[in-house]
């Protein structure tokens, strides 16, 4: 038996090794800051491997390294690096400064990378579980905090529940087509004309449920607010970007490749889900008082927007979705970076009213938060606008003008709760003195995210072209 060509897998292999290396190093390195640095170096190494690496398929199409997967992996790595940056000081304050934290992040990133590259449902499942299991633990990383426990438990139970749906769907499609390879499934469905088979549709819909859970689309979003609120803030930042993007990656690949011919069938379901997701996210966010919970709902809403790209389909639709997730990574982690700074010794800083008068004591942090809030709202000249604009462009192009109208109206509603933060910061008098746990690493994260948000907002060409190029080989 010849040695399979594993060159496309090099980044993943490197990642796995590094993750284990970090786990081992943790035993000998006392200063956990070094672990963080190593984590980031790992990310850059993988980044390098990714760019220098070979594209192609491995294991007879079970693993695919194409532009699509590379783009998503870039998102994962960015979110990994940014999250690491904002974690360093935070987990010190929270007194959970353990090395596992970083290796779990690396493992979960590995899981995502595998997901993005999965050409086969089996691989997909493995990646998904690797990611999920790591994140379950990360969510419960504050072992002594009941809310963290609760978050972890809820995420775990519901995650496992959703996984079961995924497997059931897999078994059905396997039974129908005799294969688990995505392209083979598509081919089989096309040649045997069982697109309208109820069993096929049942399977497709169960996939919707499972992936809908991962991207926190309503009505499968219920876990998200509780988990986002209870999990350590840095993990929340990570979860809201990485795993969500990974969910979209598999959503896109499975639905546009394996079920590409069935698009007219599943679009009819995805549209109401997308609208419901935007509605639930944006509307419930209005009445939140905890900023993490508010951002959780906001993250649900953003999943709704990104689904528009999926609904629109075609290369433009997918590219717009990817572009959006890429931009979302920066603006959301940026916002969380500010949120995390408010956490100081003996002060949680999670309440929205804690932001009152922040502009007076901390003008720079407030200004950055303002940028992120406007970006999340989608006001130019920030990246958030470019992201939404591309989505709407794709939607109109695909003939879903009315969906774009619905989306813009929801984004107008969303302005209300994002602006409320700005309002608290700038238009209220400070109640007490709020200290910030500023550190150089958080500073770097903020600088990077803010720069990205503003630069992409003004010069989006690079990102758009990247997303478009990534879709080409899809």
């Amino acid at each position: 038996m010849p040695m399979p060509d594993i060159r496309p897998l090099v980044p993943e292999i490197v990642m796995a090794c590094l993750a284990m290396l970090v786990l081992i190093l943790d035993l000998v390195v006392k200063r956990k800051g070094i672990i963080a640095v190593i984590t980031m170096i790992s990310a850059f190494v993988v980044f390098y491997a990714l760019f220098g690496g070979v594209r192609g398929e491995a294991f007879s199409g079970m693993f695919v390294s194409d532009g699509y997967s590379v783009f998503f992996k870039i998102i994962f790595l960015i979110s990994l690096v940014l999250t690491t940056l904002i974690s360093v000081r935070y987990i010190e304050i929270e007194k959970v400064n353990f090395g596992e934290y970083y290796s779990l992040m690396l493992f979960s990133t590995l899981g995502m990378m595998v997901m993005a590259s999965a050409g086969d449902i089996i691989v997909l499942y493995l990646g998904l579980e690797l990611m999920a299991l790591s994140v379950y633990v990360l969510a419960g990383f504050f072992r002594h905090d009941t809310r963290s426990n609760e978050a972890s438990l809820k995420y775990f139970l519901l995650g496992a529940f959703a996984s079961a749906f995924l497997l059931y769907a897999t078994s059905m499609i396997y039974g129908l087509t005799g294969t688990t390879n995505l392209r083979a499934i598509a081919q089989y469905l096309a040649t045997h004309g069982i697109e309208d088979n109820p069993a096929t549709m049942l399977s497709v819909m169960l996939f919707v449920v499972a992936f809908g859970f991962k991207i926190a689309a309503a009505p499968f979003h219920m876990w998200a607010p509780d988990v986002y609120e209870g999990a350590p803030t840095s993990v929340t930042a990570f979860m809201s970007v990485g795993p969500k993007a990974a969910g979209f990656a598999v959503f896109g690949r499975v639905f546009l490749i394996a079920f590409g011919n069935l698009q007219i069938n599943w679009v009819g379901i995805l549209i109401p889900i997308a609208i419901l997701t935007m509605a639930v996210g944006n509307i419930i966010a209005i009445s939140q008082t905890n900023i993490k919970r508010m951002l959780a709902y906001s993250s649900i809403a953003h999943a709704g927007y990104a689904m528009i790209g999926l609904v629109s389909g075609g290369s433009e639709g997918v590219a717009s979705m990817m572009n959006y997730l890429f931009i979302y990574a920066f603006m959301n982690i940026g916002a969380f970076a500010v949120v995390i700074m408010l956490r100081t010794e003996g002060f949680k800083g999670e309440n929205i009213t804690d932001y009152e008068g922040l502009a007076k004591s901390h003008p720079l942090a407030s200004a950055l938060m303002l940028v992120f809030m406007f970006s999340l709202t989608g006001i130019p000249p920030t990246a958030g606008f470019v992201g939404k604009f591309y989505l709407f462009l794709a939607a109109v192009n695909a003939g879903y003008t009315w969906l774009a109208v619905v989306a813009v109206l929801f984004s107008a509603i969303s302005a209300y709760f994002y602006l409320r933060i700005v309002m608290f910061m700038y238009m209220k008098e400070p109640k007490g003195e709020v200290k910030l746990s500023a550190s150089s690493s958080t500073g770097i994260a903020l600088a990077v995210t803010a720069t990205a948000v503003l630069v992409i907002g003004v010069l989006p060409s690079g990102v758009i072209n990247m997303a478009r190029a990534a879709v080409l080989g899809f």
């Binding site: 438990l153 809820k154 139970l157 519901l158 529940f161 959703a162 749906f165 309208d196 109820p198 549709m201 049942l202 497709v204 819909m205 169960l206 919707v208 449920v209 809908g212 859970f213 309503a218 009505p219 499968f220 219920m222 876990w223 607010p225 509780d226 069938n265 599943w266 009819g268 379901i269 889900i273 639930v280 509307i283 419930i284 966010a285 209005i286 009445s287 939140q288 509603i413 209300y416």
Partner: protein, 642 residues
């Protein structure tokens, strides 16, 4: 350099100098600037009028004011006989009143302000009469209204004064509304606003009609335009039903009443109708409306003047009444007679006001007839001048008012107007009324015993020279200004009519000489009997007037309250508008309906949000149940849909 440009722009310069430097630098010397400027204007006017007498009329555009597409209008000047008459009236009266004011306003803290406004007014009025197009006319029209506003409310700390100024402006706006639309109609139908072009082509509109769809009425186009223009005149010249501002305008300083609210501004309406005679003459309906409105106003105001006790208000109502006379003249086609009366009236009415001012000066601002009496011996100059003015207005032969009034009545009687006889009858009766109330004023103020307080009596004195000299000069005008228009019947040359003939045409009365004598005799009798009756009632001892008032208490009350017109407007227009604004528009439409939706939708979303968040119970199994139900619906929908 066209010297006539100096006529309006000298006063403008004076205004600018005074308003910019008056408060700090010029202060009590403000009158020099204004007086020199207006005298300069007067001199240039006289020279210009001299030119016009020799046929040198001017019609020249200074520069293009507004041009937009086909709409082009210039700032330009037209000096023809009609303008010439107005120039004489305006600059002469203005000069004299400027001089008078230097004495009258002496020591007022707004001295510089007063003179700058006077200059601005003079400028505006001159722009009005010298305009060669409708839009510039409109400019002057509004600008004089503005000055009137400033000057009525000159003592702005008094609520009544600032109210009166505001009222004048707003009531005028009602008239200007029609006037403005009239101007627009002229442009839309004739494509130009320049007098010569408009008057040349207005005949082309004969027979055209304009339909007002929503009302379902069809109106002759020329009548429509003429009536719209007349709206403006009604406002500016205080005719029914927009006369209400003028009596209130007496809150302003007396020289202002004399200049603006007697001699010049209020006659702008008459001037405009005369100017537009080519339009009005083509519409018999409009002409009749003008005549009847004029006549009715004359009667209406004349009756009110009978019972008032405020000397300035009496003169104000007399002004309204005399303006009605002028419109009456225009309405029957006797434009020259109307303008002639305008011209004579300017002198004697300004004189009346200035005399009233002189009386006020002596009485420390007192205006009530009942507190006066016997002033003759204290202030002889004022008495004699005022007496002459009153004789003039009463139409006593030989005085200026006689000639103009007689011409109006004769042409109304003999002219072709279908309403001519009717308005003649009213006019004659009004002549009687005029004589009566004018002499009531004279007798009550200057004759009999002094009825005021001792301090007032002690304070009585003749006004200074700076005031009495203008009185005497005006007095000359009040007597002699009529001599330029002595009718042929009396052996005169009717020069005035001849002078204006090129612009206003000439209406030949159709009647025999004996008829003409008869009309004149009736008017003389009316005037003299009015004077006689006044003497009978007010010169004798005893309280005859009070008894009459008692016996006709209803009539007296109605007249005393000016037919309740102010109250009517207040109840029908002012109060309901404010009420609607407060309670309907702001309270309901804006506050409840629009704001209700605007605030209600977000509030609804907010409420929905706090309801919806209760779904998130925190119970894992419910979350799972929602997922399962969601999955069920998703699957069911797809399977059913297929």
């Amino acid at each position: 350099m066209d010297s006539y440009l100096l006529i309006p722009f000298l006063p403008l310069a004076a205004f600018l100098i005074n308003i910019l430097f008056g408060r700090k630098l010029i202060r009590d010397n403000a009158h020099w600037v204004s007086i020199l400027a207006v005298l300069g204007s007067w001199v240039v006017s006289v020279i210009t009028v001299e030119g016009v007498l020799h046929g040198n009329t001017v019609n020249r555009d200074l520069y293009a004011w507004i041009s937009s597409g086909g709409f082009k209008v210039s700032v330009g000047f037209l000096i023809d006989p009609l303008t010439a008459v107005m120039l004489v009236v305006v600059t002469t009266c203005s000069s004299l009143i400027h001089i008078y004011s230097a004495g009258y306003m002496h020591g007022d803290k707004g001295y510089y302000r007063f003179f700058s406004y006077l200059s601005l007014f003079t400028f505006s009025m001159l722009m009005l009469v010298m305009a060669n197009n409708f839009l510039q006319l409109y400019f002057g029209w509004e600008a004089v209204g503005l000055c009137s506003y400033f000057l009525i409310g000159f003592w702005y700390e008094k609520k009544s004064a600032s109210d009166a100024g505001k009222k004048a402006f707003i009531v005028n706006r009602f008239g200007d509304f029609g006037f403005g639309i009239g101007v627009i109609m002229i442009f839309l139908t004739l494509g130009t606003l320049h007098y010569d072009a408009v008057f040349a082509s207005v005949k082309n509109l004969i027979g055209q009609t304009v339909t007002i769809h929503l009302l379902g009425v069809q109106i002759d186009l020329i009548t429509f335009i003429a009536l719209l223009l007349f709206c403006g005149a009604v406002g500016k010249s205080a005719q029914l039903p927009l006369h209400v501002w003028l009596p209130d305008a007496m809150e302003g300083p007396t020289p202002v009443s004399a200049l603006i609210h007697a001699a010049t501004m209020v006659t702008a309406g008459v001037f405009m109708v005369a100017r537009c005679n080519p339009i009005f003459s083509l519409s018999p309906v409009a002409m009749n409306v003008v005549a009847v409105v004029g006549a009715v106003t004359a009667l209406f105001a004349g009756t009110i003047a009978l019972v008032q006790n405020d000397i300035k208000r009496i003169i104000a109502y007399s002004t309204v009444s005399q303006l009605g006379y002028m419109f009456l003249a225009c309405g029957v086609g006797a434009y020259t007679a109307g303008v002639f009366h305008l011209y004579t009236h300017a002198f004697f009415k300004a004189l009346l006001f200035l005399c009233a001012g002189s009386v006020m000066h002596a009485m420390a601002g007192e205006l009530d007839l009942q507190k006066m009496g016997g002033l003759k011996k204290h202030m002889p100059v004022t008495y004699w001048t005022m007496l002459i003015a009153s004789l003039s207005i009463a139409g006593v032969p030989g005085f200026a008012g006689f000639f103009s009034k007689d011409e109006i009545l004769w042409l109304a009687y003999s002219g072709p107007s279908p309403v001519g006889k009717f308005v003649w009858a009213i006019g004659t009766f009004v002549a009687f009324l005029t004589a009566f109330y004018s002499f009531r004023l004279i007798f009550r103020v200057f004759h009999g015993k002094f009825r005021g307080s001792h301090e007032q009596e002690h304070h009585l004195h003749e006004s200074p020279k700076v005031m009495t000299v203008p009185l005497m000069l005006l007095c000359v005008g009040a007597v002699a200004s009529g001599w330029v228009g002595v009718p042929q019947l009396l052996g005169g040359g009717a020069h005035f009519t001849e002078f204006l003939k090129p612009v206003l045409g000439h209406l030949e009365g159709e009647g025999t000489r004996s008829e003409e004598w008869m009309v004149m005799a009736i008017s003389i009798i009316a005037g003299l009997s009015g004077i006689g009756l006044a003497a009978f009632v007010y010169l004798r001892e005893g309280d005859l007037a009070a008894k009459i008032a008692q016996n006709f208490s209803f009539v007296h009350r109605v007249l005393w309250n000016k037919y309740y017109v102010d109250e009517l407007y207040d109840a029908v227009i002012v109060k309901p508008t404010i009420w609607t604004a407060k309670n309907v528009i702001v309270g309901v439409t804006d506050g409840k309906i629009i704001e209700g939706v605007v605030n209600g939708v977000p509030r609804l979303i907010g409420r929905f949000s706090s309801r919806l968040r209760n779904i998130q119970t925190g119970m894992v199994q419910q979350y799972a149940a929602v997922m399962a139900i969601g999955a069920f619906f998703v699957i069911a929908a797809v399977l059913l849909w297929q």
